[in-house]
Symmetry: D2
Subunit: 147 residues, 4 copies
């Protein structure tokens, strides 16, 4: 799934990367006393937004420039549950560029990075305001690959 042209760190995770700190709220837990499975997609989105912001742009600005990145596929692998009040570290990077799509990958770690709670990915189409697929603009790719 990883683009041969993607820059990988020594641990096999793509670079550049970003790390989001996220405190688990009570509303994210369920009756099993762990974080509900859909919440991880919210974590991924928060990490993705942070990644874009760290590269000098907001996703809102990307949209203002006429590009939207709707999700076409999402996967999550749940390894160890998160609980209320845990501080999770959500890691994000870009694993693959294609002509008209981009794939983000994620890891959810414990505060001390000793436990990997989950991994996942989201694939995004690159579309214009009418929803038609377009090639990933050079400025977007340049933005995201700058370290």
């Amino acid at each position: 799934m990883t683009d041969p042209t993607a820059l990988l760190g020594p641990d096999g995770f793509p670079r550049p990367e970003a790390w989001l700190e996220h405190r688990v709220s009570y509303g994210e837990t369920d009756a099993m006393k762990v974080v509900y499975y859909a919440e991880y997609l919210h974590y991924f989105e928060r990490a993705r937004s942070l990644f874009i912001r760290r590269h000098g742009m907001s996703y809102a600005t990307v949209e203002e420039r006429g590009i939207a990145l709707p999700i076409t596929e999402a996967t999550v692998r749940y390894k160890r549950p998160l609980r209320y009040d845990d501080l999770a570290l959500v890691r994000v990077g870009i694993s693959q560029w294609r002509g008209a799509s981009v794939c983000f990958v994620y890891e959810v770690h414990s505060e001390d990075r000793a436990t990997l709670h989950a991994t996942g990915s989201t694939r995004h189409a690159c579309v214009d305001p009418t929803g038609r697929p377009v090639r990933v603009p050079g400025w977007l790719r340049a933005l995201f690959t700058a370290s």
Copy 2:
């Protein structure tokens, strides 16, 4: 809080009313094994949408006609917790009309109507597409007050 011009049923709840059946999902519960407190506002919104739909219109259509009903105030009183897989009956009616606002009231009952789980209210401004308050249009009031 009730408009003297509102039609009340013998039980003091405004008429017309609508009843939404809602099955509690796992994702709505929290680590106390009961429905998380914010979910009740989702229930109220579902009941409100049903109320509008039952009166022959979708809230989407109301917006297409240039009227939005943003919420200015919400209250919930929590009486008995709901649990996973409970079938809740959410009752909704309009308690008050003012020049440029309308107030909905809600009750959340158990399936057998023997237990009142919660009550609440939402106040809505009536605004045009620019967000400016406008008088409640006659067609909207007529729509909602038809039984």
Copy 3:
């Protein structure tokens, strides 16, 4: 991904199946005016609960019998967006049984079944109250495979 022992319908979807009707609420939409991507996992869970209920048991009862089915993997493929007030039909069935896990598959259709909005899957471990993997009990498999 489909178990050779699973019974498939003529359309390739496993049998037995269940169909959940779900009305899209405002709270499920996002600023792109479509259903937010994490909500589909809520839809899947609602459909799964319905599937279990239709087979004569609640997931709460499964848990009372000492079996939990925590999710180890989830995937969603997003094909066409859903919008506020749409009535979605969520189809669910079991595609695979393994010794200590079970895999559900899902399809999200429009009300008229003319549009396929999304597909997906969830894999569940079968665990005892201490969280240790156990073989899927016969009663559970019998329950789910009865038509």
Copy 4:
């Protein structure tokens, strides 16, 4: 609603207070392109948890000591909408102590504190593990009133 024994700051907000920074995610917005009304109760809960944590305890620890604080009433007044990627500052304090209940109040400010987006309150019963109301323990009140 404010306890005469509560310590108020010069701005009329109770002391001690805590401020939570919260970045608005896409999943919190709705089709009106603003934060959905139920999300504010999540913000309040995050701020409340922070308040407790800042006073040296986690709400999980409060529960381990045999005290739960279920919400009996919540109110929100919506003044100015929040949008995707906004950084909100959520202020929290305790406005009232009664024998067996406590009331938190909240304000949601913009990043520059120039705009007040919302205000609200939550009332909490103090209950033992069986759900029976009990007097607020001295250690809890001491914890929350220490500055």
